[in-house]
């Protein structure tokens, strides 16, 4: 009897040794005369367990955690292929509370399927959204996206339907859909997971966007630091073409759509939509002034839908299951789910997809399990490098776009980075400015010069922490960057800087402000 064993091909699982495990498993089973079929699945996103091996049994898929090549022989001899108990056993993977309590809308197939298997994709509701979209027509598709309440998941949280409607209404001989897959935020990896573990879902979302808005070409801008995502998406596009999903007549509907993959080149600001367009056009990734909006004048001057990977992925669910099912999740004006990514000094880091409204405390402790080091959490940065450090007294607030914006923070792309006592908040504040200076496109003075001076002012402040002039200058500088920068990189760099300054004054060697409100 052939036993099916899943060994993830996800790049992080491989960086932790999954390929060596697969090789050793093949070898050992051959030696022992055991017939196995190894499936290289995606990752479930329970990265604290990777490499996570799953064995198909009659009762379900049983998991073994942190398997190394050197453990394989012992595991097989002790009944791995029968799903036997072992110190590395985690039991039925789908029963793990970390996974079972999530609301996996976008991430449903990750780790379940073989990422490049068209039959797996079909068997797990694949292409249902696209079929529905073709059946109901462009106007109804945009209506569904509108009713779902879906907002851009890259970080700007702009209503997706309004963007699509603008493009649909703009007459032009050529229109484009561009997927922003330049996931540059430290602490984020879900876009990488989509591309590596469920690539057809992204393709499906882009085709739906194209048909709804009249765009015949989709481009995916994938960061250079994601070589496996680049390879997998390229392969998936080829397969989708062969399956008739891409080409001159999508699923025979008479309208065409095809996809080009473009590789980025190590510039963080090229995750900003207009800098990304410049890069796609073969130029320096310099930010464009808006208006005109890309929806009207975008790639090569044509009307362009620009969406994050997650936004396009969510669209497939909205169309397949109906807008009301997506809108039923979430709170306030933040409908649907967000795949949070718990990262940094975390015990149980990984992908946690939940409806908006969950608290940061639940993410940090119920899922994250606190720090990896076992020491207390010192600081938590939510929303990427341009996000604020969230003070402990706000960890119980429900996470949604409006609540976080109101406290001077941002949800961003859902990244949650945990720091313990080894973090110096002064050094992290300095790093925020230094990173901005390094990555600045150079166009606007508040960012280009502000961040450069920001590093210098912080250095002066740290050498003379009792001189109030340095703090005043730093706050002044941050205000200029916030209100004067051309794009979010310059304007939001003050978020981590000021939140570090406000909530961790002792790290800067400064006295506490006594009897006054902490300035924002």
């Amino acid at each position: 009897m052939t036993v099916k064993v899943y060994v993830p091909q996800d790049s992080l699982a491989r960086a932790l040794g999954a390929d060596a495990v697969a090789l050793q498993l093949q070898q050992v089973c051959q030696d022992l005369g055991q017939s196995i079929e190894i499936v290289r699945n995606g990752s479930r996103g329970l990265y604290w367990l990777e490499p996570l091996i799953e064995v198909q049994t009659a009762t379900g898929r049983k998991g073994y955690r942190e398997v190394s090549a050197s453990m394989v022989r012992e595991l097989v001899v002790h009944g791995l292929l029968q799903g036997a108990e072992h110190p590395l056993s985690v039991g039925l993977v789908e029963d793990l509370p970390y996974l079972a309590t999530q609301k996996r809308v976008t991430c449903a197939r990750m780790g379940v399927t073989d990422p490049l298997s068209l039959s797996d994709y079909e068997a797990h509701d694949g292409w249902q959204g696209l079929r529905k979209a073709i059946a109901i027509g462009p106007e109804k598709v945009i209506e569904q996206v509108s009713l779902s309440g879906l907002r851009g998941r890259g970080g700007a949280a702009f209503p997706a339907a309004i963007k699509w409607q603008t493009v649909a209404q703009t007459q032009a001989p050529q229109k484009y859909v561009v997927c922003n897959a330049d996931e540059g935020d430290s602490g984020t990896f879900v876009d990488r997971m989509v591309m590596e573990s469920d690539p057809f879902m992204l393709i499906e979302g882009m085709v739906i966007a194209g048909l709804a808005t009249g765009a015949s070409e989709g481009w995916i801008y994938i960061r250079d630091e994601y070589p496996q995502a680049l390879r997998t998406m390229s392969h998936a596009v080829d397969l989708a073409r062969k399956a008739g999903v891409l080409g001159e007549s999508v699923m025979g509907c008479g309208r065409g759509f095809d996809i080009r993959i473009r590789r980025a080149a190590g510039s963080y600001v090229c995750g900003e939509e207009t800098a990304m367009l410049e890069s796609l056009e073969g130029k320096r990734g310099v930010v464009r002034a808006k208006p005109p909006l890309p929806a009207v004048h975008g790639l090569f001057g044509c009307p362009t839908v620009i969406n994050n990977v997650l936004t396009l992925a969510a669209v497939t669910y909205v169309l397949a299951q109906g807008a009301e099912h997506y809108a039923a999740l979430g709170i306030g004006r933040s409908r649907g789910t967000l795949p949070f990514q718990i990262a940094g000094n975390v015990a149980q880091g990984g992908l946690v997809e939940l409806p908006f409204g969950v608290s940061l405390r639940e993410i940090l402790f119920t899922y994250g399990g606190g720090t990896r080091s076992g020491k207390p959490i010192k600081a938590v940065q939510v929303g990427g490098p341009l996000g604020a450090y969230i003070p402990q007294e706000r960890w119980d607030d429900p996470i949604d776009y409006e609540t976080y914006a109101a406290m001077g923070a941002t949800v961003g792309h859902g990244g949650v980075v945990i720091h313990d006592e080894q973090a110096s908040m002064a050094q992290l504040a300095r790093y925020a400015m230094a990173f901005c200076a390094h990555e600045s496109c150079g166009k606007c003075t508040p960012c280009r010069i502000g961040s450069t001076r920001g590093v210098e002012v912080i250095d002066r402040l740290l050498s003379q922490p009792k001189d109030p002039g340095h703090e005043q200058l730093l706050r002044d500088l941050c205000q200029t960057m916030t209100y004067g920068s051309l794009c979010a990189m310059g304007s939001m760099t003050p978020y981590p800087v000021l939140s570090a300054l406000n909530h961790y004054r002792e790290d800067f060697g400064m006295d506490q402000i006594v009897g006054e409100e902490v300035p924002k």
Binding site: A15, L16, D224, R263, S267, G282, A343, G344, V346, F435
Partner: protein, 152 residues
């Protein structure tokens, strides 16, 4: 450039010159093939895209990935972004710097900082000659570099 490299360059230029936005794909292809973008290739590239050498130089110098400097024999990249910093990436960088300083010359071992490989849940992240590694610390990196022949 050698004759071989020149031929490779011209073939790639032909392949990409008419791709929309083809300059970045071409630069990637050249760097992948030759290890860097030779300074004396800029004229050919500029001409194919009907742009100036200065513009092409401007594009190359803008992006961290592109370089006109020949690659070292061993390239080690270590992530220095926030999530990896939270688990000791700065110390790892210092350790790597001291290891590379011990290396006889710079052409053998080049250390680069990168910013996010998406391994943020199991950092620190390191790339050794294109091979990805996660959960590396200052202790394990030396063994890794010995195993991969980067240091002796």
């Amino acid at each position: 450039m050698t004759q071989t490299a020149d031929k490779q360059l011209r073939d790639l230029v032909t392949a990409f010159a008419h791709e929309p936005g083809g300059l970045l794909p071409l630069l990637h292809a050249v760097q992948d093939a030759l290890g860097h973008i030779p300074a004396d290739s800029l004229g050919v590239i500029a001409k194919a895209f009907n742009r100036s050498v200065a513009e092409v130089h401007g594009v190359i110098s803008y992006y961290d990935r592109f370089t006109t400097e020949p690659a070292a024999k061993h390239v080690v990249q270590v992530c220095q972004a926030e999530a990896c910093q939270a688990v000791g990436a700065r110390k790892l960088h210092e350790k790597l710097r001291s290891l590379s300083a011990q290396s006889p010359n710079e052409e053998l071992f080049q250390l680069q900082s990168v910013y996010c490989l998406g391994f943020c849940a199991r950092g620190p992240a390191v790339v050794v000659n294109g091979e990805l590694h996660a959960n590396i610390d200052a202790a394990s990196i030396e063994q890794l570099l010995r195993d991969t022949g980067v240091v002796s």
